[in-house]
Symmetry: C2
Subunit: 360 residues, 2 copies
């Protein structure tokens, strides 16, 4: 048994070696744990093994922890089966919803539910399958760990340790809280983005030429895989519909306010939205600081961004965020450097002194 | 009269020397035009003059073109007055809505409406007032030019020339088309972002810790000034309410689909959203190309971004877009470099060869 500095000593079995499962496997293998790989598709296991993610599970193997990484629609069923097949193992998963798989396990295998504690790493990729996996996928990301009332404390501790081993930040909360939280911070924003983007799909010819950065930001997540997202939302239907109903009430108020020219009523809604943007935790969990943007004109050629960031680095000002504006029609981009408010003048001055066209 | 290579020879009068007006003035002054400044607040004129944006208008001055840059609620009234006060001038504006000011002018000064052609530069800043102005504010941005049936062709030509002089890309379309287009690409996305963000404002304690990049993107525009946005929406109430009603119908369908577990109906809505994200014109007006993301782990310290972009530049791959992931909890950021799909492997390999932790 490899020394890992904690209770998580392996073997760790990964059931479902797609993007997430293989990434967890790679991180565990890198940490020296014995990693067992299982998948309904045998070629996926061969691929993941070939990447150094672990070895196929053999009869007689007895995992300490099993990580279920199958599509959302199959979570409850597979977790239940794994609990029965590996009676000495603790079990977790990496699914986007937590209450419905737990309810399934409770119903079908109530005696073993104590060995299951769910998890949800906030990471992904536009790609899928084991070849897209990487040991660093979870680096710096939140990883929700969702113990329930009957959960064994050792199970919770193992899942937290797994998250930390993967470089993620474990956040412990209850399954229902998790699902309500992701309905609000992920599922409903995604669905509303899809509705806004859906109106773009039926736009008259030429109207989308006026698209700016705002609409690109609002709709970007709606470009994700509809099949996967449909499963995620279906698994969290209760929390999602409750919140969508709230949004509909607000939308009715908004339509009435705009239609009646009721500036005060519209202002209430816009101010609540502004307050919401400020309620999101700041970078790295710190309180949000007042930030300012410095806009820089950048010819769209390789090397210019490097030069810009080298020059910006000379200011000693930390860049909190960056954006490239995609306005149509000319081979010049506008780069937005977001910095602390009281450092923006310095950044602008340094860039201008090095020949950049910059403004606030 | 300064040689400017076209029909726009000045003087150009700017009425309202806030951020947009003073920025237009600075660009015109930089091009050698005689610029006249007017504002209800005399100190703004002094400030803008002090910046080199032009000189106060004097009796006897006869502008060739007047640019009205006042708050949205006052556009129609001020344009009408300017047409009467400057009987030899052509008149434009820089407001976010175009049909309602035109209707006001038609009603109150039908004989002079031919001398007015509206405009709308797609640019702004978080800051306001003349001190925030810059001659480069419009660099690379679309600038809608909206002639109407009775417009003098010279007026349209002058406004197009003004947009080009400011470094913007003139896009000619009818006022109603403009308003419908911005309802779809700007006003409704903003309002829906405000509703999503409004739900964040009332989130239970701790739930927003699960916020990822997606919800930040969806809600970012809702951080803008509610007062200004209320005026803009009020000026485009007809187009906005029509489109909000469409969104409401779709939202009803969505609530029903999720509530009933109707995966097929939800899939239709999600697929329409995905199609909408692909309908937005690509960078610089080119067709959208297939892009891929390379994620890089970056310690959050000054200088690291410069080093990253210098190393990325060595790959010879053009970076189409960049993002910094703001996940809470640790002093490490994840930088997303968006590049052409077939160049992503090369970018990843070059970065890894220089010691970066990168994945796709």
């Amino acid at each position: 048994m490899t020394e890992t500095g904690g209770a998580l000593a392996g073997p760790v079995e990964i059931v479902g070696v797609g993007l997430l499962g293989t990434s967890v496997a790679l991180a565990c293998a890198k940490a020296g744990l014995d990693v067992l790989l299982s998948d309904a598709t045998a070629s996926h296991v061969r691929t993941a093994s070939g990447l150094g993610a672990g070895r196929p599970r053999k009869p007689g193997d007895s995992p300490q922890l099993v990580v279920v990484a199958v599509p959302p629609a199959h979570l409850g069923e597979v977790i239940t089966r794994v609990l029965a097949d590996s009676p000495d193992a603790f079990v977790t998963d990496v699914g986007s919803v937590k209450a419905s798989p737990l309810a399934y396990v409770r119903e079908h295998n109530p005696d073993d539910v104590r060995r299951y504690v769910g998890g949800h790493p906030m990471a992904g990729s536009e790609r899928s399958g084991p070849l897209a996996a990487t040991a660093t996928l979870f680096e710096g990301r939140p990883w929700a760990v969702t113990p329930h009332a009957d959960a064994a404390p050792e199970a919770t501790a193992l899942v937290e340790e797994l998250a930390a081993l993967c470089g993620a930040l474990p956040l412990v909360l209850e399954p229902d809280d998790h699902d309500q939280a992701v309905a609000r911070t992920s599922h409903v924003p995604h669905l509303m983005a899809a509705l806004v983007a859906g109106r773009l799909a039926v736009a008259p010819v030429g109207h989308l030429r006026l698209s700016g950065q705002g609409v690109r930001d609002v709709t970007r997540v709606a470009g994700g895989d509809p099949g996967l997202y449909g499963q995620i939302v279906a698994g969290n239907a209760h929390a999602v519909t409750a919140l969508l109903a709230e949004v509909r009430t607000q939308l009715d108020d908004m339509i009435e306010a705009v239609g009646n020219g009721d500036a005060a009523a519209l202002d209430v809604l816009l101010k609540e939205g502004q307050a919401g943007t400020r309620a999101i935790p700041g970078k790295h969990g710190r309180p949000q600081t007042v930030q300012a943007s410095v806009y820089v004109t950048v010819p769209d050629e390789p090397g210019n961004l490097a030069r810009l960031f080298a020059d910006a680095g000379e200011s000693g000002v930390n860049i909190e965020d960056v954006r490239i504006d995609h306005d149509p029609g000319r081979p010049v981009g506008v780069m937005e450097l977001i910095v602390a408010h009281d450092a923006a003048d310095r950044m602008q001055a340094v860039l201008e002194s090095r020949g950049w066209v910059a403004h606030r």
